[in-house]
Amino acid sequence: MTIPLTWTQDPPRSMAQVVWSREIPSSLELKQDTMDALIQEMLDRRFIDSEEQHWLCLCLDEALVNAILHGNEGDETAKVQVQLGVEGDRWVLCIDDQGQGFVPDQDVPDPEDSDSLLLEHGRGIRLMREWLDELTYYRGGASLVMARRRTLG
């Protein structure tokens, strides 16, 4: 079932149990290494199984590219923080950038709109909503929380 996108100006909720954290400069060159380390951590903890790896890859890629390029506008002095935590039977990922956020209705085309079908961008969030159990933007879009029920652990 496709989940709704939630957007608020509120600060993100505090995560009960952080199990992995990394802060990186806003450089796309560092994105893949961060993704690989995080995915391995989530596989080792049995938060996901290998069948789901491509979905996690996609969600992480969208989230990190957005944080680095759109949130921090590629400014390498600005940081992106990635935290992995546990909330009950769910894993939770929180990705923070130091940008000004965004307004989904204004800045992201609605992929359900027939006029958007031929656009070459704007599908990332739609795809994330398909797999995740929660997709919430806090601080006006500068903090992203993604969550999903743990597969095996």
Binding site: Q32, C57, D61, V65, L119, R123, G124, R126, L127
Partner: protein, 121 residues
Amino acid sequence: MASEHLIVQAYEGVVLVKITKERLLEAPVIAAIGEDLLKLVDRYPKISLVLDVADVGYLSSAFIGKLMALFKAVTLVKGRMAVTGVKPSLMPLFTVTRLDKIMTFAPDAAEVINLYKRKPL
């Protein structure tokens, strides 16, 4: 002219392109593949293009965007294209984004090649 991630074969009016990269996640890789695919549309008038993605295991929405750019370019020159060999695990990415409504997807490249050969543009 083709990037290191593409194998291009053209014969009997059909251009078969195989993407050999498993992970289509890095922006420079996606950009290079996108540019090279568009160059094929310039090189072959009214192209009949078969894009084989059987080796692709991971992709991002940026690649889907490149695919859409390619589809528009092919349509503009009154060509045709099909995407073949999409792994079942990846097919939902194309159905969710409704690309399956406007592009041709087929399990096997050979089947589309034969169809294109039988019905030249």
